[in-house]
């Protein structure tokens, strides 16, 4: 199967997953105790006001009717309006999703940039002090709660040293990168530890492969042996792992975005759950599902590019 038809087939496979996710999240939000209207109007609202707005929002209709309307809005390519913010969910997502994409993208790049060279050093110095030092340092990153890391990064690099701004997102693309540096770093630390561990193990395994000896026997420079022969093979399993981590990365983004005041979808999701903003939760879940599926697909394609044996 060629790459294009593989891609198409994979995208088709995603459809039932989306339908399932749609149903699960639709039901899930409705079994949450307390509804959006009471959450929105707060303690002071009268019962009449709550009833009236519930009716306006169509939340008094039977659940199947509500589900049907939900499907209708999705079929229109719409996701309904936010109950709390009174604007289209699509617009909220369009404002917020790029922020999270940039944050997680930067975090991934940082994580890879940190993990790949150090995993190599650790692997080739296996069980000697550089290896132990690198593993120890990454273990600290892996074992630290992300909000704790964020707080310390903020206090030191933004609060005390004024090297970076204290959170926020800025206005221009350059400012975005500058503002997201620390949050991306906080998010990258545990992620890079995961990559480092996996890559170190793969490199150690690949280093003992015969083709590495053969490459050395050919008289190739060490740089070429490691860069061309070892890295590429070791990356195959690590790429899959990086893809699978997208879920954890988005989970981490929830906390990071709160600590660093980054206006992304992670925070929007938590806020919406706490506000019982059904349309936003539903729309956002589907949007994130699309995102995650695309990331999985992209990792598959990268793996195909890296490994000619995966002839799917």
């Amino acid at each position: 199967m060629n790459r294009a038809s593989y891609t198409a087939a994979r995208l088709l496979q995603i459809v039932p997953t989306f339908i399932l996710i749609g149903i699960v999240v639709f039901v899930l939000v409705r079994i949450l105790p307390g509804g959006p209207v009471a959450a929105l109007l707060g303690d002071k609202a009268s019962d009449e006001a709550i009833e009236r707005i519930t009716r306006q929002l169509g939340l008094d209709a039977p659940i199947l009717v509500q589900f049907w309307r939900f499907l209708e809005t999705i079929a229109r390519g719409d996701l309904g309006d936010s109950i709390a913010y009174h604007v289209a969910v699509v617009r909220l997502i369009a404002e917020r999703l790029p922020v999270t994409l940039l944050l997680t993208g930067m975090a991934t790049i940082f994580a890879i940039a940190l993990a790949v060279p150090l995993a190599f050093v650790a692997a080739v110095t296996q069980n000697r002090w550089p290896d132990l030092a690198i593993r120890g340092a990454f273990q600290v990153g892996l074992s630290s709660p992300i909000f704790y890391v964020g707080l310390i990064l903020l206090t030191v690099f933004a609060g005390a040293m004024h090297i970076f701004p204290v959170g926020g997102y800025g206005e221009t693309p350059g400012e975005h990168l500058y503002h997201l540096f620390l949050p991306a770093l906080a998010l990258a630390l545990s992620f890079s530890a995961v990559i480092m561990r996996s890559l170190r193990a793969s490199v150690i395994e690949v280093l003992s492969a015969e083709f590495v000896d053969f490459a050395r026997a050919k008289g190739l420079r060490r740089r070429i042996v490691l860069g061309r022969h070892v890295l590429r093979n070791a990356l195959i399993s690590t790429v899959a792992l990086i893809g699978l981590q997208i879920g954890d990365l988005l989970g981490g983004a929830v906390i990071t975005e709160s600590v660093f005041a980054v206006p992304g979808v992670g925070r929007l999701m938590v806020d919406s759950i706490f506000a019982r903003d059904y349309p936003v939760i539903q729309g956002l879940t589907l949007a994130l599902a699309v995102l995650v599926s695309l990331v999985f697909l992209a990792t598959d394609l990268v793996q195909m590019a890296l490994d000619p044996r995966v002839a799917k």
Binding site: S208, A209, E210, F211, D213, F214, A215, R216, A217, K218, G219, L220, R221, R222, I224, R228, H229, R232, N233, I236, L306, D307, P308, R309
Partner: protein, 330 residues
């Protein structure tokens, strides 16, 4: 008379530090290879054949401790700087491995894997390297070579892969080819083709070759000289015909008796009793003594030196004189 040696190994010892102690793989090995000569290196698995070959190019793991001397055309390889060693590897001494599926990088096209050797050892440009790669592939018998340059190892059959590896080894125009059991993983019919190819290439290119194998039949068919290894040492070395006809080491004799040989005059098989010595304990005397029917007291207490028994043969056996002749070599 043997031609002047291009590679002389003397007193080579290799041991590995493992979690379970020090393991000795090669134990004071002496060996010489003449220019253009095809030498068969035989011995049971674990006797140190592959380790010896890898030691020549310093391809052993970090936990290996190597002592001795390896003299390559007047140059000491064990102490040579990395940069010099790179020129030797692939350019002067090439090596091929037993299992081409694992020795070829699965994710790189074979074209690239040939061209990178060319890039390391020749001044050819990109187009020149590609042309040369096609020539090499054709030379080792791969049909429509140009079309297959961009293929990956998994797209070739076992025999074809071994041909690819040979082509890669030839790319640097080496003076010596170290072939580590190159046919073990192949079907018998393919084995013959590959061996023929190797023999032919060595002759055509004037290239010396060390052929590691445990198959005495292959040695008989392919090699000029043979060296027999046991427990990390050379027991005996000399021209194939004379060694096979009249072994001067008890182990050589036992080995010859234990393997089936093709041909009509089949003799009953006589497996060697006992086990090779443990590699993590020191060996006193001749390592083969515990399994040897000819062993005497001296064999158990004194290490027999490797000495010339005829002008072109060496052996390390106190009881060489008592050994019977075996049979006419093929």
């Amino acid at each position: 008379m043997t031609p002047a040696p291009i590679l002389t190994i003397s007193g080579l010892s290799v041991s590995f530090a493992t979690p379970h102690g020090i393991v000795r793989a090669v134990d004071g090995l002496d060996l010489a290879i003449g220019a253009g000569e095809v030498l068969g290196l035989v011995g049971e698995s674990g006797s140190g054949k592959s380790v010896t070959l890898r030691a020549v190019l310093r391809l052993l793991r970090r936990n290996a401790a190597i002592t001795g001397r390896i003299d390559w055309r007047g140059q000491e390889l064990l102490t040579a700087p990395e940069r010099r060693l790179r020129d030797v590897r692939g350019g002067e001494i090439a090596m091929i491995f037993q299992e081409p599926m694992t020795a070829l990088n699965p994710v790189l096209s074979i074209g690239l894997q040939i061209e990178e050797t060319l890039a390391a050892h020749t001044d050819l440009g990109a187009a020149g390297r590609r042309r040369r790669a096609i020539e090499l592939l054709s030379r080792v018998g791969i049909a429509s070579a140009a079309a297959r340059l961009d293929d990956y190892p998994h797209q070739f059959s076992g025999g074809m892969r071994q041909r690819v590896m040979i082509a890669i080894a030839l790319a640097g125009a080496p003076k010596l080819l170290l072939a580590d059991e190159p046919t073990t993983a192949l079907d018998v019919t393919i084995q013959d083709q590959i061996l023929k190819l190797l023999r032919e290439l060595a002759g055509d290119l004037g290239m010396a070759m060390v052929l590691v194998t445990h198959d005495l039949g292959i040695v008989a068919e392919t090699c000029d000289r043979v060296a027999v290894m046991y427990a990390g040492r050379i027991c005996e070395a000399g021209p194939v015909a004379s060694v096979f006809a009249a072994p001067r080491h008890a182990y050589t004799l036992a080995l010859l008796r234990s393997v089936p040989s093709g041909g009509p005059a089949r003799q009953p098989l006589d497996p060697i009793p006992g086990q090779p010595p443990r590699a993590d304990r020191p060996i006193v005397g001749c390592p083969f003594a515990p399994r040897c029917g000819f062993a005497t007291g001296a064999c158990r207490t004194t290490r027999p030196p490797l000495e010339a028994v005829t002008p072109d043969r060496v052996a390390a056996c106190f009881e060489a004189a008592r050994l019977p002749a075996w049979r006419e070599a093929a």
